[in-house]
Amino acid sequence: MTTTLRINRIQRCCFHDGPGIRTTVFMQGCALRCWWCHNPEAQVAGGGAERAPDDLAQELLRDRRFWDRSGGGVTLSGGDPLLQAAGAAQLLARLGAAGVHRCVETAGMVPVAAVEALLDVVDLWLFDYKHADPADLRAATGADRGHIEANLTRVLESGADLRIRVPVIAGFNDTPAAWEAHAQRVGRFQAPVELLPGHDWGRGKGGVDPRRCSVDDTVIAGFAACLRRYGIAIWENESCRP
């Protein structure tokens, strides 16, 4: 059975969402409500354009010449692509058959069945771990830490390639205490971590919260140093440094 996908937008020639040059598909729908979210219009499940996975794959493949020469591919982002696991799995299988490298970005607040549906069709997981403190996490995003950790563990147990991504947000996880807690909690997953500094583009416009969320370089450096003290490897500029 073919399922359609609800797509917020497609962005070609991305350098940030995984290795090489990538085409990122922002999918519709997210279970969280992070206050700093830049894509509030992608949070609702019903919006966006409806696309058939095969037809979408054809369109995405137009940038193949650039993926092949840079080790790039397609990244599903959102929203949370795992909320459309069936369609995403079809799309990724199609791309996999064409030999394309596939990443999925997820916030992890999805049914475990969704994770399982994608385990065989994802080459690299970019898995958000936003905050180690369950109460702070719930307050700022609505997420349940235990549920996210269970899904994260499920991916790791499958032996899949995974990077933990941490959006570093002013007033949320930019303090040494938060870093310390993060390092302790994340350390147990034995996966490298990529720190993504928050930025203020589009603040206050189109439903985006007006509060500042950007942090300066010293925050990123402090956070990275703290993680390294716990033996956690850091991804920077698409290379992993212990």
Binding site: G20, I21, R62, R65, F66, D68, S70
Partner: protein, 714 residues
Amino acid sequence: MQALSQTIDARLAAAQDHVDWQRAEIVVRAWPRCAECHPAERSAGVLTAILAEIDLDLETNPMFAGATGGKPGHIMTMPEYGWGADGQARIEVPDLCAVIDAEMVPTAIQDYIDQNGFGGHHSYGHLAVDLERVVHGGLARIIAACDEHAGRGDADAQARRRAMATACRAVIAWAQRYAEGAEQRAARESDPLLAARYKRMAQACRRVPALPARTLHEALQAVVLCHLAQHIEGHGLSVSLGLLDRVLAPFADEAVGNSPDTAELFEAFLLAIHANGVHGRFSKTQCVTIGGADATGRDCCNATSEAILRAFDAVRVPDPHVFLRWHPALNAPVANVAYDMLLRGVSMPLLVNDVPTVAGFERLGIATEDAWDYCVIGCNELGIPGRACETAMGPGAIHINVVHAALCEELAPQSLSQWIERYEMRVEQQLRKQVAGFVAQRDRHAQERPTPFTSALMYDTVERGSDCANGLRYRTPASYERGLSNAVDAMAAVDALVFHGDVSMDALRAALRGDWPDESLRQRFLAVTAWGNDDPQIDAIARRILDARHRAGDRVAAALGLPGLLYCHVVRSLHHMAGKTLGATADGRHAGEALGDSLGACSGRALAGPTAVLGSVLTLDPARDYGGGTNLNLNLNPQGMRLDHLRALVEGFFIDGGQELQIACVSAAQLRDAQCHPERHRDLLVRIAGFNARFVELSALEQQEIVARAEHVC
């Protein structure tokens, strides 16, 4: 930058723009003496007089002799053509043009222009001579060849050959003047380092360009003198430096390791070319081409290739500019230096791909070994040093103008096919007139304003006794185009909204006549997907337009007995000039707005990002569609981009057949900062469309265009 180059650069930067009437005065005096001669001998006689008298400049650049005037900042005067500011210069360097406009032309010179002026401001340029014969053969050998063939051909050929020999002697004598001046200067100099530089200059000028160069310095000295002599002879924009690294290959050992001495040599060389006073500091797009493969597929880079690139990176002058010929086996260190420069926002080198370019020349019957010697001879126009230099030919077909005129015919087209048919008819009429006009104009140059020195440096001209205006090995007139993106967008929008939508043709034509009085209607036209978004349906329209243009061009070429036409899509600032006189168009463009600035998407319309622009352009057939050269601006946001990303973009495009890339990795934020604090960004070089410029020196109009372009990058 090396210390010496810094000093030279500072001298050039501090120079005041000023009109230098000396050359004009000499011409006015020398002309009557040669009035009865064969025109080529008259040209040679005038050149002899100029080079015997023109002020030497020994102070600005102690490394290389040769200058078009006595002081930096001069604007050379060429009354045998005319006088005034170039139209593109008015857009690019309005302050320089104000100096030109404010100048009173001396009466004797004005009288001379009124009587003898050929028209324009200078000769056609857009050529590359064979520097191999300058550097490794020497002018004495060319003179000997003239003597050897003296009796051959008719009286015209014999006179032209005599003129070539005379012109070469004039250039040798000019070098001797510099040798003498440098010897005296060395004797006066108390600084031993500077004295040694002048001695070396003197020694070089005693030898070159008469005899073959023995060292890298002598080779570059020969190039400087012969390059500037072509300008002094009368050539204006785009006299190119050919395949410079190949010419210098026998001296590559001297450049290995790019020592400070080598760096100093190349930097001072570029500054000597930069100081060229034709039209003052207006960019003359003096192009250096490096890299590439030969006909056997062998990479032609050598140690001078990298040294040349690094010198361009160090001096950051807008003119000369450098093109790197790309091919799959391009020397990796040279390619990496290039990518690194681009990633740092240097806007150079420009990249051109061997395979489709050579194929474009071969289509016109150019021999394979000649085709592999191609170089850039202008902003982007292509030619073959000494053999084929006719790609830049003036107005050509401005696609959007033709498309617009066809739309506005009394009976409007009823379908896209009908519209394209009418476009084809109009293009054919236009090309017929223009190509014939071009050929006639070149004949007129050869008859009335021949340039025997430049001709002497070409292939076959000595043997034939011909002028380079119309007597080169290959004749390759081109159609000189722009506005393709506007034309495609206009057709796509009308197809969607008029032929297949709810807007009536009458309503559209009324909107165009009134310059889009209803903004909401204009927005609907702008909302239709544009060229440059890798949309197969839209891109197919571009191909249909070019198929039609091509059929028309083939008929015109056949009628004129030419093997075919080359086509250039070259913009420089002509998109502003063309836009100014064009009313509102169906692509949503307002009357007077600039046209698209390259073969890529119109400004602000590449919504799917840079790879989609490349995808659209890859649907064209560069060998057929733009064999004469094209410019494709690709703006990339440098944030997060690494060298391997850039390499993948270039290789992905070129391996699949793309022809040319002008990459700019400058963020809008950086540009805006430069607008606010020009003093901090004096070295910020940007690529406009066919030329480079220091951003802070651009007019407000051009600055705004560059910022807008950078803002529309995803």
